[in-house]
């Protein structure tokens, strides 16, 4: 299976991932080779097999509804790229 440059660009945008125009071809080739590996799977019959999401067939544990966290804004925002009055800042979002 061969991925086109357009498809690579589309996926890259979905992932908000900047890739250089000159690398698109390489990514397309790499991804296509990986996809070729995947065809091995299609040769195996998996009808009636339950998808396995986790190594352990476990059940979600539930946490009591109690507040344990306190304000750590200063600690957390000390590593933030841009803040103002306790807010994280991003370029203006237009709705």
């Amino acid at each position: 299976m061969m991925l086109t440059a357009e498809e690579v660009k589309k996926i890259a945008y979905l992932a908000r991932l900047g890739i250089d125009e000159k690398d698109v071809e390489t990514y397309a080739n790499d991804l296509s080779s990986i996809l070729d590996l995947m065809t091995q799977m299609s040769e195996t019959c998996t009808d009636d097999i339950l998808p396995m999401a986790h190594p352990m067939d476990q059940i979600q544990r539930l946490r009591p509804d109690t507040v344990l966290e306190s304000d750590q804004r200063e600690n957390f925002q000390s590593i933030a790229p841009q803040i103002d009055s306790g807010f994280y800042l991003v370029p203006k979002v237009l709705d």
Binding site: L14, S33, S42
Partner: protein, 483 residues
């Protein structure tokens, strides 16, 4: 003192032969001396000395645990409060973690001294440590070769005696393969045995942290500290932690060893195969029964892994968006530009490849064909192991088809690199525990023997590994120039 095992060091510290500060300083000196190996991303010199001082007080008060005062180092994937936690990426080059991973908390509590943070493949994606933003790591056995990956810094540092022990993480072989390449002991525990909280996620359903040490005995000591239920991790198992050191010397008489025939098929280097066979013979001498078994779906593990791991990572890495922490591009012109450039500029090639792969596999129209199919095949692989463990106690085989390859040798061909993970990946898909122990050399390069056991049977796995290390001395070899 840097040539001793943790058990020996702990004894010497207690007997006052040297202090933790002296021991720590000697390791710090070695780290400096061998900086060309590029094992460390961050050396936490002041922090280490301070911790060592505290440890010496505890030791003097007789208030010490087996790791008190022992210098260890953390893979740079574990969040360490107040210390840079880069995950080998430009994305987190400026990230001073505001909190500690559970594993880190546990080591701190044990009184271990953290020397620093170890180099790794970017976001643990790689099998050679060459995808690190901080450059490749050298293998001390042959500095023109890779140490393996992704825990390459950990393996190289332990092999070169730059630390008494290290932590690693294993998503598709990232503890076992570098352990094998560097001639050390590396244990990947059962999924859910060690908390993942604070360990930067690559593929959540596969990631598991474990010890990388000079011996199985040391691995038992580290695992004792690392293991245990963590209420902060939904996938952590609420199961009591056994004493990992207690059964190390149990007899292996009657041990049933399975050799999966798929581990010895085409692609395996002949010399490596001979080393493994010799190791298995050693077990036969100890009274083990050897039997061939089959894991018929093992060949699927590569495609399955390269769907599931990238799919999970594509979502796991979305939080690196330049908004709350980490790298942000200069002067973004709008929100999308902020995302696209921050992520585009700060993620390396391999990370991008996997994000793209995962995004594709999950996108509309392909989800069933790739993701669901892979999850179904994953169950088949897991069932194979169940079947095998109904026949034998442990499985043995190689860790990697070859010994350490040359730096730059495989970087041009990602697929070739992926295929080399064939013997380690299935274990992660099933969530089983496995260990790599040094079993000999091919052309003066170490070869690792992989032992896989059933869920939560780490005591048994360590026993099997330890007994081998009692009758062989492969694990005691030191690379030239690092004695």
């Amino acid at each position: 003192m840097h040539n001793k095992t943790i058990t020996e060091l702990a004894k010497d510290l207690r007997e006052g032969k040297f202090s933790s500060v002296e021991l720590t300083q000697s390791y710090l000196d070695r780290i400096k001396k061998h900086s060309e190996l590029n094992c460390f991303i961050t050396v936490a010199e002041d922090f280490a000395i301070e911790s060592a001082k505290m440890a010496d007080i505890k030791l003097a008060n007789g208030d010490a645990s087996p790791l008190t005062g022992i210098p260890i180092a953390q893979k740079d994937i574990f969040c360490t409060q107040g210390t840079k936690t880069s995950c080998g990426s430009k994305m987190l080059d400026n990230f001073i973690s505001p909190y500690n991973a559970t594993v880190v908390e546990k080591f701190n509590h044990s009184g271990a001294v953290m020397l620093g943070k170890l180099n790794m493949d970017e976001f643990a994606m790689g099998s050679s440590n060459e995808t690190s933003f901080y450059g490749a790591v050298q293998n001390p056995w042959d500095t023109s070769t890779v140490p393996g990956g992704s825990s390459g810094g950990s393996a190289s540092a332990v092999a070169a005696h730059l630390t008494a022990a290290a932590t690693g993480t294993d998503t598709g072989g990232s503890i076992r393969q570098p352990a094998a390449f560097c001639g050390i002991t590396g244990l990947k525990p059962t999924y859910g045995r060690v908390s993942r909280y604070g360990m930067i996620a690559f593929a959540s359903s596969l990631d598991q942290a474990g010890p990388m040490t000079r011996s199985a005995e040391d691995a038992a000591t580290l695992l004792q500290t690392m293991s245990g239920f963590d209420p902060k991790d939904s996938t952590s198992m609420n199961k009591p932690v056994p004493d990992y050191s207690m059964g190390l010397n149990n007899s292996l008489e009657g041990l049933k060893i399975g050799l999966p025939k798929e581990f010895f098929s085409e692609g395996l280097n002949d010399s490596v195969a001979r080393v493994i066979e010799t190791a298995v013979d050693e077990y036969r001498k100890m009274g083990a029964e050897i039997k061939e078994v089959s894991l018929p779906h093992m060949k699927l593990s590569i495609p399955v892994y390269y769907v599931i791991a990238p799919a999970e990572c594509s979502a796991n890495l979305s939080r690196f968006d330049g908004v709350r922490f980490g790298y942000r591009c200069d002067e973004p012109k709008d929100l999308n530009d902020l995302y696209i450039r921050s992520r585009g500029e700060a993620f390396g090639d391999e990370v991008k490849r996997r994000i793209l792969m995962g995004t594709y596999a999950l996108s509309a129209g392909y989800y069933d064909a790739y993701y669901i199919k892979a999850q179904k095949a994953r169950r088949l692989i897991s069932e194979d192991f169940k079947q095998a463990f109904s026949e034998v106690d442990v499985l043995m085989g190689p860790v990697s088809p070859s010994t350490a390859f040359g730096l730059g040798e495989k970087t041009g061909d990602p697929i070739e690199m992926y295929l080399a993970d064939i013997y380690t990946i299935a274990v992660n898909l099933a969530g089983l525990p496995a260990i790599s122990i040094p079993a000999g050399f091919v052309n003066e390069k170490p070869v690792g023997l992989q032992i896989i056991s059933n869920y939560f049977t780490e005591p048994h796995l360590l026993n099997v590994a330890h007994k081998y290390q009692q009758t062989t001395n492969w694990h005691q070899q030191t690379p030239k120039g690092f004695e």
